[in-house]
Assembly symmetry: C2
């Protein structure tokens, strides 16, 4: 696992260029926001970097400028479940909750793609909250979205059978690809769904037997998309 | 299901008396907070009142002053899972997210005991957020706690077998009783854990066969507390 590398803004116009592409952030025009940006760092992390180690301190307020951060939970026996994604322009609410509660409670975050993060000193976070209405509105909506996303996931995990959640995940992954082939391991799928590789492999084999998919080494091919859609309806 | 009944403060000193017992709220001393209280309503609801109907509008900022509100999620076939409890002195974060996102996404809330709620016009919520540092701090911590609680639940639902979660729930319920008898139906337990009554009845029978508990009509008696504690360790 690589280390997070921090660097001051290489040039003054770079963060502005990044922010221009993020409408919600670009809309925050206050002086205090510009001042906060000038003292913030842009941190670049390659895909796979663990951003929050269980037990480590989180002492900055973090916004994702580019790329995607996956927030996930693990248990003692190594199983994982993905909780939510932080996309570009969004607050890393997990870091914020750790900052607010001064807690080291275990949830983890990893750069799923190469990411650029804005890391702001917490005193500027407090000033922004006090002085910028646009920032407050942005932040409150971010936290509210995070809460509803995690509640929705809890309901899915509780109410939906794993085979249905697997079919829906395959559909989602295939919508991100151009062809009918998804490149991912059974372990990656298990980590997404909060189960074991063995269970995923068994369920995938059942989907192969029923003609929905074909399993190849390191990839899954969708054979009958219509049949898969029917399955996703539950 | 009973209707929520609203009433203006019956007397001026009543909310103050209620707030005095809630240290986090009593600590907010700002003028804007006192002003906000003077325009807020205290709503009294008996246990069992549904506070947020799926699809209804939530147009006030709500704090629980007395009693406990259960926030839960339901699915089409009627199954339920408890997400978290809002205790006295806490913000109803669910109402707040609905207010912030102007969304009718489905999660529901019910008075688990008789409750008294403080219902504040949203414009005062915004003023408090802008003008009161103590309120901001209280609110941000409330939202952060809600997020970590729901994340913790998601992890439990994903990683822990239902028989373990059932044993832990029995232990928790028995810690709230004086004797070794818990009065609750199998359906109540099912709704707490996000499963069906049939599954709960089957698992309870297994616990009875193994000598952990004895099942009576409408109650569960703990026969061997030490054995139950061992089971809760997983």
């Amino acid at each position: 696992m690589r280390e997070v590398e921090g660097c001051a803004f290489p040039t003054r116009d770079k963060p502005v260029a990044l922010l221009c592409e993020l409408p919600e952030l670009a809309a925050i025009g206050d002086d205090v926001w510009r001042e906060a940006l000038s003292v913030s760092e842009v941190i670049t992390c390659p895909a796979g970097t663990k951003l929050i180690e269980c037990g480590s301190s989180a002492d900055k307020f973090v916004i994702v400028l580019q790329g995607v951060v996956k927030v996930y939970e693990t248990c003692e026996n190594g199983r994982e479940i993905s909780l939510y994604r932080v996309n570009s322009g969004q607050v890393c609410v997990l870091t914020l909750t750790r900052l607010l509660l001064r807690s080291n409670r275990c949830a983890q975050a990893m750069a799923e793609q190469d990411v650029r993060l804005l890391a702001m000193p917490p005193e500027y976070f407090n000033r922004l909250l006090a002085e910028s209405e646009a920032f407050r509105s942005y932040l409150m909506r971010s936290m509210a979205h995070c809460i509803t996303d995690v509640i929705q996931l809890t309901a899915q995990v509780s109410f939906k059978h794993l085979d249905l959640r697997l079919a829906q995940l395959i559909r989602k992954l295939s919508s991100q690809e151009t062809g009918s082939r998804i490149c991912c391991t059974h372990q990656t799928i298990a980590n997404e769904l909060g189960t074991t590789r063995e269970v995923v492999s068994r369920l995938l084999k059942e989907l192969e037997h029923s003609g929905h998919i074909k399993l190849n080494r390191g990839s899954i091919e969708i054979l009958d998309r219509e049949k898969l859609e029917d399955l996703c309806l539950g």
